[in-house]
């Protein structure tokens, strides 16, 4: 019987780091095996994560479980505190599912140069440590440290293994993120000084519910939000993402967009909202507008892209707009939807990036115009790409549909105009996905592409789990929704907003039995909006 007392999270944090050390330390005679070792470590991590999840009490997903608390730097109030609620657990699961797939996808990368590949897989494992840790951090200082430190492995992943513009993209990525992070640092310090201080003064639970002066709270909120908005990324601070995604190796982009950027939205959800509830309510209207702009802007630019990887990056800007919209719409439906969206977006964009990576390796070009008619020569590749693409446009039956729908109906209850405009994003998504599919896979086969091999068994294994997960959660989302519902209610209580009641029941009817429980949350007020819908 697995015990919840075992330090699961610390184990999850340490295992990939040890794996990276082993990969680096392998004697040159054994370097042929680095890929096997790395994938083995990543699979072990996946098993451990599943074991940890099995000890997680889903009925109580709103409270942080598997907690560990140790003094780290008591002099400045920092503790090593980890713990996950449903959302954190879901994102950790996403990280550990994607890492082995990314490692598997990189099997033949770096032109068979095993020595370079060794650094690549080791950095990926280091990154996995940071990804798990950042979603588990329950101490503002620890979170900040991880938030910043995880930039370094990504920086090397882009700068050392990327394409033509890798230096520019890596530096741009680092500077954008650090600028946001350093502004946040001031707010982190100020927050500590506003709190009770002491050796555990940075624990999130000790900082929630402080009575802050109005403008102090607002400025601190803005500093945190800016850092997270850059990370997410939201319009207008998104410009680093297309550059980074275009030049980074596909595996890096997968982790960057599918997991790392989630730290931004995760931070908004678990830090901005509970720590600065009043300021969050104050800023919400503007943020909703920015989110809607992100949705449309990202989708429109995605349609216009000629580079496949840039296209996927812009679709993500659009999707992150949906996530932020759901978070700041302040209904339990939309927040639960956003939390689930974070997971689904990871699956869908991860699959798209990995498949795009396979395409680019085959063709040696990232330009969409260089492809054509591939469906006839590589049907499996075309089919998987189509499914991944359809998940990006939220086709019913795929898990992204459930989350996007929850976000939209939740938002509709709060702000009809925002929801109506955001729905246009879904239409635009259909255009960019189908147009891209059409250009790459349909039409006459281009002469250069006649000999394009279809997905190998290894490559099929890379995308199959993602597609399977999307399908399973599309038809039966209950396990995931169980994890995100309670945290959404807790967050809503912390922000001090209640659901518009009537709307939620509409929402519940629309989604069906699974989401019905979402609507049973603490709706106490019934405003006009609710009755009109």
């Amino acid at each position: 019987m697995l015990s919840a007392d075992f330090p699961w999270l610390t184990t999850l944090i340490v295992v990939p780091l040890v794996g990276a050390a082993i990969v680096w330390a392998l004697p040159s005679s054994a370097r042929r095996w680095v890929r096997h070792v790395a994938v083995g470590v990543a699979l072990l991590e996946l098993l451990l994560a599943v074991a940890a999840a099995s000890t997680f009490d889903t009925a109580d997903a709103g409270t942080h479980q598997l907690g560990e608390l140790r003094g780290w730097i008591p002099q400045i109030g920092a503790s090593y505190a980890v713990g996950v609620d449903g959302v954190g657990l879901l994102l950790i699961l996403l990280s550990v599912v994607l890492t082995p797939l990314v490692l598997l996808a990189a099997w033949r990368e770096q032109a068979g140069d095993v020595d370079r590949l060794r650094h690549y897989v080791a950095l990926i494992l280091v990154l996995e440590t940071f990804m798990v840790a950042v979603f588990a951090a329950r101490d503002v200082f620890l979170f900040y440290v991880l938030f910043e430190a995880m930039l370094i492995p990504v920086y090397f992943l882009i700068g050392q293994f990327g394409g033509q513009q890798r230096r520019y993209a890596a530096v741009k990525f680092l500077l954008y993120s650090l600028a946001g992070g350093l502004i946040m640092l001031v707010a982190v310090i100020a927050l500590y000084l506003q709190g009770d201080g002491g050796p555990q003064g940075f624990l999130i639970e000790n900082l929630v519910g402080l009575d802050l002066p109005v403008w102090t709270e607002r400025l601190m909120f803005l500093a945190f939000f800016l850092a997270f908005a850059i990370k997410a990324p939201m319009w207008p601070v998104h410009t680093w993402l297309p550059d980074a995604a275009e030049t980074a190796p596909a595996g890096t982009s997968t982790l960057l967009v599918a997991v790392l950027d989630k730290v931004g939205t995760f931070g908004m959800l678990t830090l901005c909202l509970p720590l600065f509830p009043n300021a969050s309510r104050w800023a919400a209207p503007v943020i909703i507008v920015l989110a809607v702009i992100s949705i449309l802007y990202g989708a429109l630019l995605a349609i216009g892209q000629q580079d496949l990887l840039r296209m996927i990056a812009y679709t993500s800007v659009s999707h992150f707009g949906f996530i932020v919209l759901g978070i700041f719409a302040f209904t339990s439906t939309s927040i639960a939807g956003s939390s689930f969206y974070m997971f689904n977006h990871g699956l869908s964009t991860g699959a798209l990036f990995l498949l795009a990576g396979f395409l680019v390796t085959r063709r040696g070009s990232q330009l969409i115009a260089d492809f054509g008619g591939l469906q006839k020569v590589a049907p499996v590749l075309a089919g998987t790409f189509l499914v991944a693409g359809l998940s990006a446009l939220s086709l019913p039956g795929l898990s992204t549909f459930v989350s996007e729908f929850l976000v939209l109906i939740g938002t509709f209850a709060r702000s009809q105009p925002a929801a109506v405009v955001a729905v246009l994003g879904v239409v635009l998504a259909a255009i960019y996905v189908l147009l891209t599919y059409q250009r790459i896979f349909t039409g006459p086969v281009r002469d250069e592409l006649v000999r394009t091999p279809d997905l190998s068994a290894r490559e099929t294994w890379v995308v199959a789990p993602l597609i399977a997960l999307m399908l399973v959660l599309g038809f039966y989302p209950t396990p995931a929704l169980d994890l995100v519902r309670e945290p959404a209610t807790v967050t809503l209580e912390q922000v001090g907003v209640s659901d518009p009641e009537a709307t939620v029941s509409t929402a519940a009817r629309a989604v069906g039995a699974d989401a019905a429980a979402t609507g049973t949350s603490s709706g106490t007020t019934s405003d006009d909006e609710g009755s009109t819908t």
Binding site: G71, W72, I73, P74, Q75, I76, Y144, V145, L146, E148, A149, L151, I152, Y155, F156, G159, Q160, R166, R167, A170, V171, L174, L175, L178, A179, L182, I183, L185, V186, I189, A190, Y192, L193
Partner: protein, 545 residues
């Protein structure tokens, strides 16, 4: 017969650390005179290492006493033994020890970084002769010990005259050492001259300030001056002018803008091991003295000085970071980065919070370790002539391209130091920045902390640029000229520098020790700073007036 003179009671044990270092310096001079040339270098090095290590041991022995009674006054108030002074002296001793290892390392080329005969005219026959005979300038070791001794007194001085004497004791050897580079000797001598002239000027200002403060308080003792400031009503011109001039003298030594103009030239011109020693230890000592003056004398007049001090802090951060952005020489980049760091540390000094003392000491530790380590690495990256002869240091940025491909460990260590300078979490530099900015916010200097954070963000660019060069850029093929060497025509010991490739020379092992120790410190203080912070935030880090 003896008149009214009474010999003061001297607690020799309390002075032991300083006496060990200075005494070893004196013995070093005798070694120069009496030990034959063959074993001289070994004897000098052993003596210097034993002296600095002995000073650390002596300081550790004194530590218990200070933690119990909070500190004592020695030599009738001239030297103060309290928490900060012990910690800073220890830091100076440790950093000196680490620097000495770099100084002593002759690398695989068999030559150290110093001119065989510093007195010879550059390019003269006499110089050629001295080099051919393999003359070694072992005066370097006693000079460093004298400088280190001066620095240790500087941090512990209880009156302004002792402080002035210490200032001179630490400065004069440094002026000399700066002029002793083996290669690019004219540049080195120019640096020494500049350093000396500007240093003399600032010493004069300091002394003038001391005179004015004496006129104001009737004493040069810091506690007496502090006492007198408490009774002042309104503005006292003597006090203000005196305090400002003393501060200017100290700010010159820490390299704050607008008194920084010597830094880039001296850092570039001085022999690189000396640059590392000077950059780390002088900063520690000068900040020690500055902290003491600011925290003991300034509090009651800090409202009058606040605008000036704030302006200096802002200027220092801004000029340091912005000018560093456009440098192309590694040593000059590190010099301007040192200026920027002076600004960051100053935010903790002007905070005037009790926590500021510990923060500044931690920052100095983090910065000192990274600086000694970084300059140690600079000594190993060399130019190589077409015929394979290893020349001087390859300090032009473009020459560092691709270092990460050829010497991954060296490049990783250098990146680590740069990331620590940049204040990236999980390095010591981050905790240092966090500490001083926290103190600044605590001391109602939030604008300074915000400015510091913005400057840090800008500074990241030039640190990261070096990492980009080392790891993400392919090296110019060997045999090709590696960029144009910066600065005036290099006067090297080995002739032509044109068409030089770049190579990394093997250390004799001593430099490697320094690099490993400083890198380990940088990581350890970044990940597990708790034990050190525990000491620094304790009751012991307060000044005994």
């Amino acid at each position: 017969m003896t008149g009214g003179f009474t010999a003061p009671q001297i607690d020799w044990a309390a002075l032991a650390p300083i006496l060990i270092v200075l005494g070893a310096g004196v013995i070093g001079v005798l070694v120069e005179a009496f030990v034959p040339r063959g074993p001289r270098r070994t004897v000098q090095l052993a003596l210097a290492l034993v002296a600095t290590a002995g000073a650390v041991v002596a300081l550790a022995a004194l530590w218990d006493g200070v933690t119990q009674d909070g500190g004592t006054v020695v030599l009738g108030g001239s030297v103060i033994l309290d928490g900060p002074s012990l910690l800073l002296q220890g830091l100076v001793a440790v950093l000196t020890l680490l620097s000495l290892l770099v100084v002593a390392d002759r690398t695989a080329t068999g030559e150290d970084a110093f001119a065989p005969s510093a007195a010879a005219v550059p390019g003269s026959d006499y110089e050629q002769l001295a080099r051919r005979q393999g003359v070694v300038q072992t005066e370097v070791y006693p000079l460093i010990l004298f400088a280190a001794g001066g620095m240790m007194i500087f941090t512990a001085a209880g009156d302004l005259l002792t402080m002035f004497v210490a200032l001179e004791v630490l400065s004069l050897p440094l002026y000399l050492l700066s002029g002793m580079a083996r290669r690019r000797r004219l540049l080195s001598q120019e640096a020494a001259m500049k350093y000396f002239l500007l240093g003399a000027f600032s010493s004069a200002l300091f002394l003038f300030g001391v005179a004015l403060l004496y006129g104001f308080a009737g004493s040069v003792r810091l506690d007496a001056i502090a006492e007198a400031t408490a009774t002042v009503v309104g503005l006292d011109p003597l006090l203000l002018a005196g305090a400002v001039m003393v501060l200017v003298g100290l700010l010159f030594k820490v390299g704050a803008v607008p008194f920084h103009s010597w830094t880039p030239d001296v850092y570039q011109g001085a022999p690189t091991p000396i640059t590392g020693f000077m950059a780390a230890c002088t900063k520690v000592a000068a900040f020690g003295a500055l902290l003491r003056v600011v925290y003991v004398v300034v509090p009651s007049i800090h409202w009058d000085l606040r605008p000036v001090l704030w302006a200096i802090v802002l200027l220092t951060m801004a000029v340091g970071t912005v000018v560093a952005l456009v440098q192309t020489d590694m040593k000059r980049i590190l010099a301007y980065s040192a200026v920027a760091h002076t600004g960051f540390i100053l935010t903790g000094v002007v905070a005037l919070e009790k926590s500021g003392i510990g923060s500044v000491i931690f920052y100095l530790t983090a910065y000192g370790a990274a600086t000694v380590g970084a300059f140690a690495i600079v000594t190993l990256v060399r130019e190589k002539a077409a015929d394979g002869v290893v020349l001087g240091e390859a300090t032009h940025l473009s020459q560092w391209a691709g270092l990460g491909r050829r010497n991954p460990w060296l490049a990783v260590a250098f990146s680590l130091f740069l990331l620590s300078f940049a204040g990236i979490p999980l390095t010591a530099g981050f905790i240092g920045k966090f500490a001083v900015f926290s103190s600044a916010i605590e001391g109602d200097a939030t604008p300074l902390a915000v400015a510091g954070v913005v400057a840090s963000a800008v500074a990241v660019f030039f640190y990261v640029r070096i990492i980009v060069l080392m790891f993400f850029t392919d090296a110019p093929r060997s045999g090709e000229p590696a960029g144009t060497p910066a600065g005036p025509a290099a006067v090297t010991g080995a002739g032509d520098t044109g068409a030089a490739g770049v190579t990394v020379v093997r250390s004799e092992g001593l430099t490697t020790v320094t690099i490993v120790v400083t890198a380990a410190l940088t990581v350890l203080l970044g990940v597990f700073p708790a034990p050190v912070l525990d000491v620094l935030t304790g009751e012991v880090t307060r000044f005994v007036p």
